[in-house]
């Protein structure tokens, strides 16, 4: 969408309200939840570049997410790196692993691409849990993951760390937004629309897909590292296929293919998981019912709902 759709202004505002809510709602609850939402949003935005923009259903993004977390942990705790260079390395590791996956996985398409990425990620999950035990701490994982130490600010307090995460989040959205409207993003949209014609008019489809996979891997690696440092802990659970499943759910609930949709999906998912589990011990089943209902009745996710509401409100000035 080269020109900014009117309804995405509303989406942007809702996302801003979510992101800035800890400034107004004091008390740890909102802060803790929003920190999580910001991190998972970076992961979801990166994932949607592959899933929504380029139309590839990857089921292996947990691998890049988890590896990013492990790279940051090992570089800081064992090699004494500072936080920021380690965070960059975590992103790079996620990107390079994604590139490696794409060389394998892009030989097939559709369901088989999803299954192959799932299998590759599970391979890394098993290795991390058993064979690479002395590197990854095995099934028990590693604790003591540090937080950034910049300009003397104590980021170990969640409130300060919130600002760091907010900055990363704004950066992530800006870059993703730019990528989507750039010629690179247009080419990807063309490939999703009509792969045969895109190849035929001169786009190197495989190379473009691999490069967006690389970018999405960087997003995943960095968000994995940020989550590990938020909870001071990393474990193979972050590499498990259910983590890949979570991000697909979040992006679909929010509205795939839109810049702000995934953030709404993340917010809905985390609030549901957090709030429901305090309300009833049967939150697991209710979450399942909500997924089923949303998948059937909200094909374009929350973003789609916001768009419908917006169009109904501003009926008279629609072109």
């Amino acid at each position: 969408m080269s020109k900014l759709q009117p309804y995405s202004v509303a989406l942007a505002l809702i996302v801003t309200a979510i992101a800035l809510s800890p400034l107004v709602l004091s008390g740890g609850n909102a802060l803790n939840l929003v920190n999580l939402i910001l991190i998972w949003s970076i992961f979801a935005i990166g994932y949607d570049l592959v899933f929504g923009v380029a139309g590839m259903l990857s089921f292996g993004h947990a691998a890049f997410f988890g590896v990013g977390a492990y790279v940051l942990t090992l570089l800081t705790t064992r090699l004494g790196w500072d936080f920021l260079p380690a965070l960059g390395a975590a992103g790079l590791a996620g990107g390079v692993l994604a590139l490696l996956f794409s060389f394998f996985a892009m030989r097939v398409a559709g369901l088989f691409f999803a299954l192959l990425t799932l299998a590759l990620a599970q391979l890394i999950y098993i290795l991390a849990g058993s064979k690479l035990r002395d590197l990854t701490g095995g099934v028990d994982g590693l604790s003591g993951v540090p937080r950034p130490d910049l300009f003397g600010i104590d980021f170990f307090s969640d409130a300060n760390y919130y600002y760091f995460l907010l900055a990363m989040f704004v950066l992530a959205i800006a870059i993703a937004g730019l990528l989507r409207v750039s010629p690179f993003g247009q080419a990807l949209k063309a490939i999703k629309g009509n792969e045969l014609r895109a190849e035929q008019i001169g786009f190197n489809v495989q190379r473009l897909r691999k490069s967006i996979f690389f970018v999405s891997g960087i997003y995943a690696g960095m968000s994995g590292a940020l989550l590990a440092s938020l909870i001071f802990y990393v474990s193979p659970q972050m590499l498990h296929w259910t983590t890949s499943g979570d991000v697909v759910i979040m992006v679909l609930l929010g509205g795939m293919g839109t810049l702000f949709g995934p953030v709404l999906g993340v917010a809905l998912f985390e609030v549901l998981r957090e709030w429901l589990s305090t309300v009833t011990s049967h939150w697991y089943g209710i979450l399942g019912l909500i997924f089923i209902v949303c998948t059937i009745f909200m094909p374009n996710g929350l973003a789609g709902i916001v768009q419908q509401i917006w169009q109904r409100f501003s009926r008279e000035d629609r072109r």
Binding site: P6, V9, A10, L13, I14, T16, A17, L20, S21, V24, L25, S26, G27, G28, N29, L31, N32, L33, L36, I126, G129, S130, R133, G137, G138, V139, D140, G141, S143, G144, V145, F156, D158, L227, I231, F232, Y233, S235, Q237, M238, E274, S277, T278, S281, Y284, W310, F313, S314, E316, D317
Partner: protein, 396 residues
């Protein structure tokens, strides 16, 4: 822009700034003693969470629900048996002013919580996770464990091997750091005692088919088979071993192989299996008799080891806190570090200052058929090993 759209923009801004008015007042002297409980109610260890909750609630009830003169408020959070949610929910509880954290269940979650509670300087009471790393010499200042450690349970297995005079042993250990370390220790000590290790296998965690390994073992002349595996893997092995008749001429035992719950899952094939027992309702001590009576009166069933250990740990810690007469967490930590519990449900327990691990007796039992009102398959305590044999001196 037209009128309608401006109203929507205004609405969105209002919601985000209108909430500023609700700033809660911040009290200095807390009006309640808040316990943040992070244990698993779903996932593989869901069953453990229920037992722990009942034991802890009974402990609080038995002291009239108050400590330091203030009512006790417990918030129960589901860790889903995964470290990530465990830490996320614990940090929320800490943000809401929890004075102590009770939990978690799986060692991985507990290790994860330690990172948080140490950083936030809040006591963490552990009454089930057995990983030795949780209570390392001068390790985590704010963590205390009143239940067994895997190291202690491996030593119990060693004592049992010595007591029964087993000469040829086959080992099966989950491919998992803690179990491999436990096995290496057992092997070294057993070989010193002249025991021959006939073989060892490390099937993956959560393995669903042990028939090949069972077949291999049945062809050896091993007298005993030590199983260093976790809950459901142990059940799977014993069920499949039962069908292959492995238990007929070989003694199957393990540090934490069976209890009433796991025996019920194995069925008749469990009979004759020997295991370390973390807590048992049949242990004869005045405090235990009182607890078991109250538990059966309230819940109508025998307390399992999770309930027993939770009850014991919680009452001990709350008594220590009451004793300090202060809301300063550092005082609680110092008081608990050197305290002795004469009337614990398992006799005397001594909290070691150097690693905050409670030294206690080790119970060992065998699965046998139980007559009513005992459960159908119950543990009969056959040995009680003394702490001195089970806990190496702290310097180690």
């Amino acid at each position: 822009m037209n009128r309608l759209r401006t109203t929507i923009l205004g609405l969105a801004c209002a919601t985000s700034f209108g909430a500023a008015a609700m700033l809660p007042a911040h009290a200095d002297e807390p009006d309640a003693f808040k316990i943040g409980a992070v244990i698993s109610f779903s996932g593989p260890y869901g069953i453990i969470g229920e037992g722990m909750k009942r034991g802890a609630e009974l402990a609080i009830e038995h002291r009239g629900g108050t400590v330091l003169g203030k009512p006790i408020e417990v918030t129960w959070e589901d860790s889903e048996t995964k470290p990530q949610p465990a830490v996320q929910k614990a940090s929320r509880l800490l943000a809401n002013g929890a004075h102590m954290i009770f939990g978690a269940v799986s060692s991985a979650s507990t290790v994860a919580l330690q990172g948080l509670t140490d950083q936030r300087k809040v006591p963490l009471l552990v009454t089930i996770s057995a990983d030795d790393r949780i209570t390392r010499p001068n390790g985590s200042r704010y963590t205390f464990r009143t239940s067994n450690t895997l190291g202690m349970e491996m030593r119990m297995a060693l004592e049992f091997t010595k007591a029964r005079g087993l000469k040829k042993i086959y080992g099966v250990g989950a491919d998992y750091a803690v179990t491999r370390e436990g096995w290496d220790f057992y092997r070294a000590e057993a070989e010193k005692m002249g025991v021959e290790i006939v073989g060892i296998d490390y099937p993956p965690l959560g393995n669903r088919d042990y028939s090949v390994i069972i077949d291999k073992i049945s062809k050896t002349d091993a007298e005993g088979v030590i199983l260093v595996v976790t809950g459901s893997d142990g059940v799977t092995f014993l069920k499949q071993a039962g069908q292959a008749g492995l238990g007929k001429d070989k003694l199957l035992f393990g540090p934490v192989l069976q209890d009433e719950l796991l025996a019920a899952a194995v069925g008749p094939a469990a009979i004759g299996a020997n295991s370390g027992v973390r807590y048992h309702f049949s242990y004869d001590s005045p405090a235990n008799r009182k607890f078991v009576e109250a538990y059966r009166a309230k819940y109508g069933e025998w307390p399992n080891s999770f309930a027993g250990e939770a009850y014991d740990g919680m009452s001990w810690f709350l008594d220590v806190v009451d004793g300090t007469k202060s809301w300063d967490k550092e005082k609680w930590v110092d008081a608990f570090a050197g305290s002795t519990r004469e009337n614990s449900v398992e006799g005397t327990k001594v909290m070691r200052a150097c690693d905050h691990q409670a030294m206690q007796v080790g119970l060992w039992g065998v699965v046998e058929k139980g007559e009513a009102p005992l459960p159908e398959l119950t543990m009969k305590i056959t040995d009680v090993f003394q702490p001195e044999a089970l806990f190496p001196p702290c310097a180690e």
